[in-house]
Amino acid sequence: MRLLIFSLFIVSALTAQSGILEIQWPKPNLQHQKPSTPYPAVLTKGIKNTKLPVYIPSSFAYDKNMAVVADQDFYTISFFLKGASIMITGDRTFQENVPSNDAQFQKMMKASPPVEFLYEEEIMSADFNRHGINYTLSIECDNPKKDKRCKEEGFVKSLYTKLIMVGGRP
């Protein structure tokens, strides 16, 4: 019987390929969430159940045209500019089915800086960690071959430096 229980434990451990990341909430943790002017309802309603710190670029905090898709473990908020759209995602889920003995994985794990500005498939993005979880801020352009916002990191970098926490709850 003990053997059976032990076996079941081992099976469950091997099949546990995903989970929820612990969040190291800042202390005091809600100071930045009380603006003098309330944020638009589309934002506050959209993230009311989100259990991770929600960051967006400060210049878009009162943009009523933002689009919010969120649940308790992740959020994606999009903002629309002329000829481009900005997206920020925070996600506290993870998957672990990656071969940890792989050379590239090991190299990546050693080398990853706290924030990386990346030229991805026709988008420019900033990939960063806060509170132990991963966030991605990106811009996609209607004309990715010519639009500098999607070819050079300056625009995304300027958005990244102006991120503010607008919600999320422990």
Partner: protein, 241 residues
Amino acid sequence: MKYFLTLVLLLLLNSCASKPPIASEAQTWKGKGFTYYPAGQLKPSNSGDGRYGDNYIYAPNIRFPLAYAPAFINSQVYGIGGQFGPRGSLCDQRNYQYPWKDNYCEKRTRSMPLCPAGAGHQGVDIRARNCQNNKHYAVAVEEGVITYIGSYSVKLRGKTGRTYRYLHLNSRSIQVHRGQRVWRGQKIGLVSDNMGKTKTSIHLHFDIKQTIRMGNRSKSIYIPPYTSLVDAYKRLLKGKP
């Protein structure tokens, strides 16, 4: 005796958990004439270095992202009519033939820490059954929610937490809206040559992003999709997508 049995059981489980499900298969599959080159074996050889030997299925049990077979994974850039490929038409019939050729990590300037070169293609390019524009539907690979719709891209966050990106769909053909819950196999949009204000070849760029835990932090990475797609395509051919 008990300890011996435990040890045997552990070894057995470990071998089941770590063995790549398609590692033992050769380049052909006995069914519907489908053949494919191994993961990471990029064709032509000057198109870059892939993750050769990595047969791990990173996104198990996803549905194939096109509604119907046949479909063809091969290079848009190094294929016939491509920027660095042999002269000819992008619609050349030879671009619409097996075997499949992995093109994850194909030479690009995009940052890709998982590629041997440190840069490369972040997903794979898939041609539908023929070269008709706006004819073939891309579908949801798993149940989830649509998180983003851009001028030429759609993002689906699956229940597993992975994010699937579909590029070059005809923006006027999109069948879903932001925030919509979708079921596995639900139509998303038509494969086209759309890339915003510029054009590309008629194909679907498909990539998969997932978060991995790294000590006390995490990282979002584009995982190799080819083996997952080979697996999904076999199910599609069997009529069990």
